[in-house]
Every structure is written in structure tokens, then in C-alpha cells.
Symmetry: C2
Subunit: 150 residues, 2 copies
Amino acid sequence: MFSKSCNYALRASVFIACKATKDSKLSIKTIAEELDIPTPYMGKILQKLTKNNIIQSVKGPNGGFYLNKNGADITLIHIIEVLDGLEFFTSCGLGMKECSDTHPCPLHDDYKVFKDHLWDLFKRTTVADFVGSVQGGSSFIKNLSFGQKV
Amino acid sequence: MFSKSCNYALRASVFIACKATKDSKLSIKTIAEELDIPTPYMGKILQKLTKNNIIQSVKGPNGGFYLNKNGADITLIHIIEVLDGLEFFTSCGLGMKECSDTHPCPLHDDYKVFKDHLWDLFKRTTVADFVGSVQGGSSFIKNLSFGQKV
DNA sequence: TTATTAAAAGACACAGAAGTCCTTTAATAA
DNA sequence: TTATTAAAGGACTTCTGTGTCTTTTAATAA
């Protein structure tokens, strides 16, 4: 559905919201290793998130990434928009140039329902929601390490 | 959602089911032009569909592509499987290696519902269903040409 | 002030999807 | 039988997403 970059960005944002504070920031290396993402590539993505003011960064000793706003103010759709754009939510399921209620593809009506539901979900869900779920122990953003028991 | 190849394949299959018969086959060129798809690339995809027995082909004069089975016997999921595989329907929405009911990502439950509904839809829907919709005038598989009024 | 640390930035490499081109194979019409 | 037609097949190019590497910039600790 989304690009790897976008998936990485979503997970990294949640991870930073979980673990970092202004006084205890997280480095690219830490984030990348914990989330099992190639380090330099993670750097690129964090850079993009920083430029778009989704996360904050500080250079130098004790530098790193953190959030200075409330995770509840960052919607997932915003992160998706920055990394992948919103084309997924507007484009045709069969890849047709023009696909609308007046010139629909055969999949249009069914597909629209699903896209709209997903749109609502990502519009409504915030980084804080995911943090809550992860910290509550009901979900995970770190890959299962080899041999780990759930 | 699906690759371009897969979208092209779905539309071409429906188009062939609409227009071709054993006595009046369609050439790569015709299909590609009507559906606004690069001709040699369309050739590759039709070749793949033929190998997988989704459509049939005949070489030589008056040759081309047609269906020798009922369109109702070709499910969309089968075409998708041949072109893209079924990974979309099994993989994690956040791209995690392991994402299951016992080790879910924060998106898992919501995303699962979405994927399962789509799976059912593509499993249930056949080429004949789309042909019916297109021939009944309630949907389209050809791109809107410039200036065309719906 | 200087050395150290860590992100920013940009150039580069690689792989797979998308698209093109040319030759071969096979079917049919003359 | 031969010429023609159209798909099959393979090599190739292009583009984009993914991933790597090196240098620069900026912040802080000593």
C-alpha cells in the first residue's frame, strides 16, 4: 500500500514519540537498529520528517531526534502525505487516468468504499494513538527478533 | 495497490472478454491502442496471461487473443496472483516482517479488515462480472479520450 | 577556542518495474 | 509451397525506489 520509506517513517515517528524526550534524544543509529532499518536510509527519512516539522532534530553531542509537540497533534495522514503523497487515496483501482462517479471503472464503487474508510482511519489516527497501543502492550513496532517469544 | 502490469492485465482481460470471439480475435496492437497501453508492453503481459491459460492466443493471419472459457470462470484474484502474487493480501500495513494476531503492528486489526474485504471481493468477482458492468454501460475500461463527454 | 559528536546534504550504486526493439516461431491464405 | 501475418521470446534501455558513502555543518563539552 505505502512505500517502504513511508512505512519506515510511520514506525520511526511512533518510536521517537515512545522513547525520546527533549533531554534524552535518539540518534539515527539507535532508531535504525531498534527498528531494523538501514541506518543511512533511516537518516534520509528522518531528515525529511524534520524538514516537514513532524519531528525535531539537534546536532552535536547529545543531539538526535525528539518531538516537541504532542503526538496527538500528528496525524498519520500527514506523515503519509509527506512521504508518499495522497495519490493512493484518489487514484483508480485499475490505474485508469479518469475514474470518477461519472466515468467509473468496474471496480470504482467497491474500491471507493475501502479507500474512504482508510482515509478516515489515517486522518483520525495520530502518532499518540499508536504510542498508546504500543506502550499498552497491545501492539508492536519493533520486528520480532530471532527466537523471541512474542 | 497493484502494479501497472496487473492493472493492464485486468483491463485487457475484460476488454478481450468483451470484444473477442474465437472467430474474431483481437491483436496486441488493437488491445493496446484501445486501452491506451504501450503496445510492446501489452504484448509481454498478454503473453503472460496466455501462458497461465487465462486467455488464449493464435499466431498468424487472423490470429490474436480471445477467451475459450467462460469469463465467469476467471476470478480477478487469479489474474492478480499471476501478475503481482498475493503478497499484498498477506503483508503488514507498516511493512513489518512479522505481523500477526499474536504480534500485531498498531495498524493490524483495522488493516486486516480492509485486506480481508478486498480479498473476498477479488475472490468473488469474475471477468464476466466486469464485462456485464461495462456492456451494461454502468462502467468503463477505456480511458476517456480528450473532449469525450462521459 | 578546540575537539568531538551527530545531523544535513549531496553524490553514488543497485535492483526491480516499466517500456522498447529485434529476431524467431507458427499459423494461414494465396 | 511460399509469402504473409501476428504472437513468442529475448536482449536491451530507462526510470524510480531503495540503499550506501563521503563531506559539510552545527552544536556542545572540555
